[in-house]
Symmetry: C2
Amino acid sequence: MGELDLVRSIRKWTAGKAPGLIVGVGDDSAIIRPRAREDVVLTTDLFLEDSHFKRDTHSAADCGWKALARALSDIASMGASPRFALVSLALPPWVDRKWIRGFYRGMTALASRYGVRIVGGDLSKAGKLACDVVVTGAVPTGQALRRSGAKPGDRIVVTGTLGGSSLGFETAKGPALRRHLRPEPRIEAGEAIRSKLGATACMDLSDGLAMDLHRLGKESGVAGHLHWALPLFPGASLRQALMGGEDYELLFTVPPSVKLPPVIAGIPLTDIGEMRKGRAGYVTFAGRPLPVSGWDPFKTRSV
Amino acid sequence: MGELDLVRSIRKWTAGKAPGLIVGVGDDSAIIRPRAREDVVLTTDLFLEDSHFKRDTHSAADCGWKALARALSDIASMGASPRFALVSLALPPWVDRKWIRGFYRGMTALASRYGVRIVGGDLSKAGKLACDVVVTGAVPTGQALRRSGAKPGDRIVVTGTLGGSSLGFETAKGPALRRHLRPEPRIEAGEAIRSKLGATACMDLSDGLAMDLHRLGKESGVAGHLHWALPLFPGASLRQALMGGEDYELLFTVPPSVKLPPVIAGIPLTDIGEMRKGRAGYVTFAGRPLPVSGWDPFKTRSV
């Protein structure tokens, strides 16, 4: 399996036209043509063997799906529409052509759902599998959601349910495992939160509610106060909901005047607390200070 | 060294405004605002411990410089101006804060030379250091250089000299070593080749002239015929010039009617051969078939 062959195959697996795509896989760089009155959002996300996945729990297709889902979730959190992806892969000796085919199958299954086209990347060898996925998105000029806009008095809201990925990782079975292996980026919900709800800040929940709300509060200069009623994934514990990573739900804030719909773009919304004046990034849960902890890639491993 | 601390430091090291930059390091995605009548070019490049560098030969600052230089070279090959970079880093236990500071020092030294701003990235742990650098560039709509435009009769041209990086890697001393550790992406030359020379195709020399000319010929559907007189880096062998990787010079083609200047943007140009009808990607050197070989990351290691 030489590089030239593999590039040829990847080009075939990812072929196709897309609005705004001028050159895809196979040249030195991809070329895209942004539309007028749109900002471009850009994110990059590592997905590493033994840090983010293990060979024996994640199939090749799971890896492809999840590597892209993580990056798409960053695009969703800006309220943007994803457009293009670049995929860098460092391949260890245990990987064969079939694995790579499976990886791209899983990735393109998710990509095609959101009209995302894979337009480039890089290939290398390594001792362990390393993947880095870049995704671009588009959003009307000046309208992207950010972490920094929350105000005292704003309601704190999450999409969907929490703790499922952590539960799935720990029990390795059932719908929770599927959620761990194949998270669903909240693309349509993110777009609707931006365009219909007048959200003041938004981010995705990748490292657990406690850590991520701390980050959002820190950027916005406010303190977050959570009440008891968190929307738990069926079977998940409070610890899994607060400290578990990889839920990839959206955490956002809206002014108190906004009447929150129960569901947006098919995903339930739950009011989980309130932003108040206070130390930036300070977080309480049911009236008690919540330690800033969650999945810190520098301290623990997720798998 | 926790992730929050490190993100704070990186934000400080990379801070600053730039035209078209709306949000940089610290949010879920970066936000950039493309200019009217420009295409966006996008590239991503892996830089991996023991595949692309070794701890004991590359200082932290060399690593930062070279990881960015490799990606910038892809932007240069499109005739584009680089704008923004995102840097993903997976950090092994041997890396400390001082190393990371040095890495960013080396990278920002090169970035600031070309007005490139680091606007995002990702951090993780890993057993070995892995880096992926994404760079965006801008080029007037429809004007980007590609690999696929060379025509029979076109002259084949390279910037600068060949074989220096390979010589530096093998001898580990002198100006050749500096060239190996701190390659200079040919940004201004690429822009001038696009705007002033009417080049029909262009790519950067990352895997050796033999391999890269094969690729360019393959994409363009022509055969490349090299003559004897290659511009060798002082002390480099023909083998190093033909098969050695990482020169990061530009390889391009121009119609025979173009009068080639001896120097462009301060870099010497050398006519090294001619494209002709024939099997796509077939390459000869001084009249003899040249095997397609060079640095294939799947077969050999560069370090």
